[in-house]
């Protein structure tokens, strides 16, 4: 821009020379780069505004909301049981755990307990979902640092978990298997053998991954002391799950506030020391083994009995009763059309999702629909720490750090 003269100045005043030299804006020396939403490694439609100095990330500003679907609002116009399929689609890598969180919260509002068999089966499905989610995370983590092959290997194993999902619910991903008051149905007979074979064969597969990646010098180089966050910082940012445990805080909802009879099982909470990508990686790898331990125990101690609560407020009357009793028929009709009405009140129920503490806060006004549902999404809280973790790191590390937080954009945006 040539310098504009104030009005009234004589044109001759501005002599050619230093005054007429165009001012060139050199900028701050950083380049502003948009990473995402259409980018191969932002794990969905995350947009990051980066200030790059060469390859160094000076500042990182996440911009979320590209996958906003308004689930929380949708809950308000659906009956409690109808909300379950929506929870599936929030954290789409661990649907049964979302189902479980919502179901437990609604059950606490109602003040009912589900039979022990249902609790154990819920644990099995939730842990299998955790394994599936961690397997996918393992593949993408390797992919983020440039190793393409482990991705295919871990999907081979994940496929078997999806097969189990299909076996019990008829759907491979969004199972909606866990319902308020129990389960969709009892598991078929061949479930036990298939689940047991998963428990028996997976440790070998995990050993294989460890050989491929854990000991790889390039992988260690890429992840050690990268994206480190101290325990205090992690707590301040509200991080939970493997990201927090990687920094050395042994916080796990399954241990702190056991739900669905998690206290019946013997398992450990792995924690890291340095809080870097590699520690988060090791935590998750160990969690895979711990989850297998839980599934194994639940399978072998699985009690018999019904899988749905006998409480008539939630459970439909049995078929033979409907045929003989008018009241039962009306109850069945009411349940199908209106659903149930929990008492007035509010409840917060947390479960441990593969990404951290997943909380459902439900306010009931006594009607058949929740007055308000707020979801405490682990990915959202963990993502807030991203700018802190990547400040001063290289662009390549940014990708690895995003992978190590293991965000699911459906969970972030809801």
């Amino acid at each position: 821009m040539p310098i504009t003269l104030p009005p009234g100045t004589a044109p001759g005043l501005l002599t050619p020379g230093i005054d007429s030299v165009e001012a060139v804006d050199l900028g701050g020396g950083t380049m502003e780069l948009n990473m995402g939403p259409q980018h191969p490694s932002t794990h969905g439609v995350l947009r990051l505004l980066l200030d790059l100095d060469g390859e160094v990330v000076r500042q990182c500003r996440p911009d979320i909301g590209f996958l906003h679907t308004g689930f929380e609002k949708s809950f308000e116009s659906h009956t409690y049981q109808q909300c379950i399929p929506y929870t599936d689609r929030m954290d789409y890598l661990g649907p049964p755990i979302n189902n479980l969180g919502f179901a437990l919260a609604a059950e606490r509002l109602l003040g009912i307990d589900v039979p022990l068999r249902a609790q154990y089966l819920r644990v099995i499905m939730a842990e299998l979902a955790r394994i599936g989610s961690h397997l996918l995370w393992f593949g993408t983590t390797a992919l983020d640092v440039g190793a393409m092959t482990p991705f295919v290997y871990s999907w081979r194993e994940r496929e078997r978990i999806l097969d189990i999902n299909e076996l019990v619910s008829g759907v491979r991903m969004h199972t909606s298997f866990i319902r308020v008051g129990g389960l969709l149905a009892d598991v078929p007979d061949d479930f036990y053998a298939i689940a047991q074979s998963v428990v028996d064969t997976f440790p070998k597969a995990i050993d294989e991954y460890e050989v491929l990646i854990s000991g790889n010098p390039i992988f260690r180089e890429r992840t050690r002391n990268i994206g480190a966050i101290s325990a205090a910082d992690a707590l301040n940012y509200g991080m939970t799950g493997p990201c927090l445990r990687g920094s050395g805080v042994p916080y796990d909802v399954r241990k702190q506030q056991p739900y669905s009879s998690y206290d019946h099982f013997d398992f450990d909470i792995p924690v890291g020391v340095r809080g870097d990508i590699y520690d988060r990686y090791l935590c998750r790898m160990q969690e895979l083994r711990e989850s297998l331990k839980i599934v194994d125990q639940a399978l072998n101690n699985l009690p018999s009995g019904p899988v749905n609560t006998p409480d008539r407020r939630v459970a439909a009357p049995p078929r033979n009763e409907i045929n003989t009793s008018m009241e039962s028929l009306i109850r069945h009709f009411k349940l199908s059309t209106e659903g149930f009405r929990p008492p007035k009140g509010q409840v917060y129920q947390a479960v441990e999702s593969p990404r951290g503490e997943l909380g459902f806060y439900i306010v009931s006004d006594g009607s058949n629909r929740p007055y308000r549902v707020k979801v405490r999404a682990p990915s959202f809280s963990n993502l807030t720490a991203l700018p802190h973790m990547v400040k001063g790191e290289l662009l390549a590390d940014l990708v690895a750090v995003i992978g190590s937080i293991d965000i699911v954009l459906g969970d972030v945006d809801r």
Partner: protein, 353 residues
């Protein structure tokens, strides 16, 4: 005059004492090299995908033709009929030059690589060299031409006026020039041993033992540097799709993108051919009694094995980070290269004295 009659008259009947027409011989050689390299590179994409498939519990391409062999042809045809997209803000000339330079330099470097031993005195005293031209400084020629390839990547990345392209272009230029030195220093050891830059002489001097035995360090340095020079994993940072989407060729489409792809594979063939020539005895058989197999086949076989190793590495290892890559080049490969030169020089000089 019929074409066959012309060919006979112009000297293809070398066995009957007719001197071979140099122009015709050149034309045949040039056609073989250009078409051969292009075809070989195209089928390397097929081989790469097959190898990747095998490593990754998949089949790889298996729909087009037997074993999916016609897949590369289908790919090329598809690219050929695609629209050429280009950002409006590009630098028009340089944007065009980039991909052409990539493939042009890659093919040109192959001109001096001897595929087999020279056939002396066929026809009337005509020596048939198995390269396009027999230069006494062939090695220098290769170094000169391949370093021009760095321009193609930088020009492509810079001219597109897109940030991802620019970052990829900058990265790869820094990478290519850093490893350029590691590569040329590693070759000097072999030159000291042979006292010649003539590739044919270098091969014939490996009659007793391949230079990989006498120069193992140089071979490792060269192979590492060559992986980086050709942008292959674990040094494929210029096109690290997890970070830079597609790096320097983000903005290229259609066959212009295809040319970068072709250039990369031709480069892989070239560096493996150089490694074979300098370190693995070129066309020489592994053991003398196998010499009934033509030298060309030995040469191609050795190159193929090296290329297989290159592919294997790609599908196994994660990618190095940019600063580690540069550190490796400057702080490890370069000093080791200098050390290798000093040691080799000392041995040769003291032997001569």
């Amino acid at each position: 005059m019929k074409a066959s009659q012309y060919l006979l008259d112009s000297g293809l009947r070398v066995g009957n004492g007719v001197a071979a027409d140099p122009v015709l011989v050149f034309a045949v050689k040039a056609a073989i090299v250009v078409l051969g390299l292009t075809l070989a590179a195209a089928f390397l994409t097929w081989a790469e995908r097959k190898v990747a498939g095998r490593i990754q519990l998949r089949y790889g391409p298996n729909r087009v033709g037997p074993y999916g062999l016609f897949q590369p042809i289908a790919d090329v045809l598809k690219l050929l009929f695609k629209e050429n997209l280009a950002p409006a803000t590009r630098d028009k000339l340089l944007f065009l030059v980039g991909p052409s330079l990539a493939v042009g330099t890659a093919i040109l470097a192959f001109a001096v690589i001897p595929l087999s031993a020279v056939n002396h005195g066929i026809g009337a005293g005509y020596d048939l060299h198995w390269d396009i031209s027999h230069l006494n400084i062939g090695l220098l020629f290769i170094l000169a031409v391949t370093s021009l390839g760095a321009y193609s990547i930088f020009l492509g990345g810079w001219s597109a006026n897109s940030k991802y392209s620019l970052l990829g272009g900058l990265r790869s230029t820094a990478q290519l020039i850093s490893y350029e030195m590691a590569v040329s220093f590693s070759l000097i050891g072999v030159v000291i041993l042979t006292g010649s830059l003539d590739l044919e002489k270098i091969v014939t001097q490996q009659n007793h033992a391949w230079f990989v035995v006498m120069q193992p360090l140089a071979f490792l340095l060269y192979f590492t540097g060559a992986l980086a020079e050709t942008n292959r994993a674990p040094f494929d940072l210029p096109e690290a799709e997890q970070e830079l989407v597609a790096g320097y060729h983000t903005e290229y489409s259609s066959l212009r993108f295809g040319l970068y792809f072709l250039g990369e594979y031709v480069n892989v063939i070239t560096v493996c051919a150089i490694a074979t020539t300098l370190f693995l005895g070129g066309w020489l058989p592994i053991v003398p009694f196998l010499s009934f197999i033509p030298g060309v086949l030995w040469f191609i076989g050795k190159v193929a094995v090296l290329i297989l190793v290159v592919m294997w590495i790609r599908w196994t290892l994660p990618r190095l980070r940019y600063d580690r890559l540069m550190s490796l080049g400057w702080k490890v490969l370069l000093p080791l290269g200098l050390l290798n030169i000093v040691i080799t020089g000392a041995v040769v000089a003291f032997q001569a004295a």
